[in-house]
């Protein structure tokens, strides 16, 4: 009796707080491929610190969305409304600001609050109306994109110079936005590994019924996670508005943030069935995509062929993880 108690109460490794080797391997592999491409095409400038930071800079938008998507997938949900929401965030930010620095804070708060509302809507449709998360977020995304495209045909408004600091301002060699992405990753990592909410997220995704019977309010956890994901998408919209100097209703769709964020999460080792994974894998997946994009650009691949390859790479990368799955997958 006494022998079995220590075994039961021995501190178990917290899920999510452990950093596995796989993300490091993915990052190393993508950087090596990137370096080889730069050497083969003779574009040595790409190998400088500036070149590498440029690659990192292009991962920021996808990175922030993918961090939110990681949380959603950890509770065994999914969010296909992120791409339209990124567009909504970008357009609303620049439309409200109209180049006036005094409206910056108000516009940012409005976009983040609106995103949070979309997150609540997603979460409530999934948990209360019990609609399949795929259809719920697809439907909400269609509604968002439809209203946005009907109201705005092109770039709307503009952001003031001061707001462009968000995307272009630097601290030493790094830009604010790169620092923001890593800061958010650290926050998410701490939240997942060291807070009650983090433990509840893993429990809900691992076994929803079990978690519910253990007293966890799984519905509330799912809603919170959807709010966090939507706010991340809204933040990405703000970043794109700052980077492009104005928002247009197609910036989210053109970035394919829905599919690519899901792919980055899965490549990073978070399973679509929920309950297992973490943020560093996702960051590695995002860096892999950034390096691939840079390699395509360096080797001058036609834009349409690039699209074909992206689709194929997403499928191949997920397959690399998934083929060991036991049982049938639909």
């Amino acid at each position: 009796m006494s022998a079995s108690i220590p075994a039961l109460t021995a501190p178990r490794e917290r899920p999510g707080s452990r950093i596995s080797l796989v993300p490091l391997l993915i990052i190393a592999g993508s950087l090596v491929a990137y370096a080889i491409a730069a050497l083969v095409t003779g574009q040595m400038a790409q190998l400088s610190l500036d070149g590498l930071i440029g690659v990192l800079q292009r991962t920021v938008a996808l990175g922030i969305v993918a961090l939110g998507q990681t949380l959603v997938i950890l509770v065994r949900s999914i969010d296909l409304s992120v791409a339209p929401l990124v567009s909504v965030g970008a357009v609303m930010a620049s439309w409200i600001m109209q180049g006036d620095p005094a409206r910056m804070i108000g516009a940012c708060l409005f976009v983040l609050a609106l995103s949070a509302c979309v997150g609540v809507l997603n979460g409530v449709i999934i948990t209360r109306l019990m609609v399949n998360p795929l259809i719920a977020t697809l439907g909400v995304g269609l509604v968002l994109q439809g209203i946005l495209s009907a109201s705005f045909a092109n770039f709307a408004g503009s952001v003031p110079e001061e707001f462009q600091v968000f995307a272009y301002g630097t601290v030493g060699p790094l830009t604010f936005s790169i620092i923001l992405m890593f800061a958010l990753a650290v926050l998410a990592w701490l939240m997942l590994g060291h807070t009650r909410l983090g433990a509840h997220i893993y429990a809900t995704g691992g076994n929803q019924e079990g978690a519910r019977l253990a007293g966890i309010k799984t519905g509330r956890v799912t809603v919170i996670v959807h709010v966090l994901c939507s706010v991340a998408a809204g933040l990405t919209g703000l970043y794109l508005a700052s980077r492009l100097r104005a928002g247009a209703p197609w910036v989210g769709r053109d970035g394919v943030y829905d599919l690519e964020s899901i792919a980055a999460v899965v490549i990073g080792g978070t399973v679509l069935a929920g309950g297992r994974g973490g943020v560093w894998g996702t960051i590695a997946g995002v860096i892999l995509f950034g390096c691939l994009d840079a390699i395509f650009t360096m080797s001058g691949v036609n834009a349409y062929i690039k699209q074909v390859l992206r689709g194929a790479i997403v499928v191949a990368a997920v397959a690399a993880y998934a083929y060991r799955t036991k049982g049938q997958v639909a």
Partner: protein, 327 residues
């Protein structure tokens, strides 16, 4: 005892009404509204034109149903439609002699696409959402790379006849568009395969409980692969009709995968598998087409129609969940 038994068997028109899927009521109401806007709708010509317009969506939706019922999703259909139309135009390039060869070629492309989706889902265990979203990107990319990004080539009349030609002087019906003949053949074929063959039963069982189907000896992988192939072939068929309607365009298929899923949801197909019927899906697709017509009459721009479609998708699924749970 006998009292309760009698109360159960008592004729109750309300109960009977509730058993009919609401998509049929919605269809009747919407067709009524269309008739108010356009009184000539209720003539044989008006109805035939409506069916002709609905034919591509009906066909794709039935194909999608096979995948949905087997437990997956097929999001690649819209891009496959685009590839079919653009590819045919490029291969034929206004030489009517090449039409039949091109049709064979696009069916082969569709077969390959469905086979690829099915193989990756079944053997590499990649969830079908990811595979078919990847295929959506890749197929559209192939269509654009092949044509250089703008609609190229030209579809001759003997290709466009499937979508455009109408037979006249038909008894009773007066007119009979070729697209409606294609629709009737496709519906009959799929209804037979789904409701009349062992394969159809196996698709249902696979979607309902893949593990149980496997234990019972069903070849789940092969069934899933065939479902994806049927779905892809339906998209090619719809593409041939749409090419006849409008000629080559690079956005001709955009959004069809979502409309097909919406039509399925309206028609009572259960997402993640196990339930569905060809008649229901046809009703769903007709309802959606009628709804688009009404929104069009009301002067709503295309983006708002997409928004309405999104809302309907969510409401229809929420309703069907409620219906299953509380009868």
């Amino acid at each position: 005892m006998s009292v309760s038994a009698a109360s159960v068997t008592r004729f109750d028109p309300l109960r009977l009404l509730r058993r009919i899927h609401p998509a049929y009521f919605a269809l009747v109401v919407l067709l009524g509204i269309v008739t108010i806007y356009n009184p000539s709708f209720l003539t044989p010509t008006g109805i035939m034109n409506f069916l002709r317009r609905a034919a591509p969506l009906c066909i794709v939706s039935i194909g999608e149903m096979f995948v949905l019922v087997s437990g997956g999703f097929d999001l690649s259909l819209g891009s496959l439609i685009t590839l079919t139309v653009m590819g045919s135009a490029l291969m034929i390039n206004n030489d009517p002699g090449l039409t039949w060869g091109a049709i064979a070629a696009v069916y082969a492309i569709g077969m390959a696409s469905g086979l690829f989706n099915g193989l990756v889902v079944s053997y590499l265990k990649v969830p079908s959402i990811i595979v078919t979203l990847g295929a959506l990107l890749s197929l559209k990319g192939i269509a654009l790379a092949w044509s250089g990004g703008s609609p190229q080539g030209y579809l001759p009349d003997n290709f466009r006849q499937f979508g455009r030609m109408t037979l006249t002087d038909i008894p009773v019906l007066q007119v009979l568009p070729v697209a409606v003949i294609v629709l009737v053949i496709a519906v009959a074929l799929c209804a037979w395969v789904f409701h009349g063959t062992t394969f159809g039963r196996l698709v249902l069982i696979t979607g309902d409980n893949p593990r149980a189907a496997e234990v019972a000896g069903a070849r789940v992988r092969g069934i899933r692969i065939v479902a994806f192939i049927i779905s892809a072939l339906s998209a090619v068929t719809a593409g041939i009709l749409l090419g006849g309607f409008a000629g080559p365009a690079q956005d001709v298929g955009d959004g069809y995968e979502l409309q097909a899923i919406a039509a399925n949801v309206l028609g009572g197909t259960q997402l993640l598998g196990g339930r569905g019927s060809v008649a229901g899906v046809v009703a769903g697709a007709l309802t959606l087409t009628a709804l688009f017509m009404v929104l069009n009459f009301m002067g709503l721009p295309k983006p708002l129609r997409d928004a309405v479609q999104g809302a309907i998708l969510v409401i229809a699924v929420a309703y069907s969940v409620r219906r299953r749970k509380w009868g």
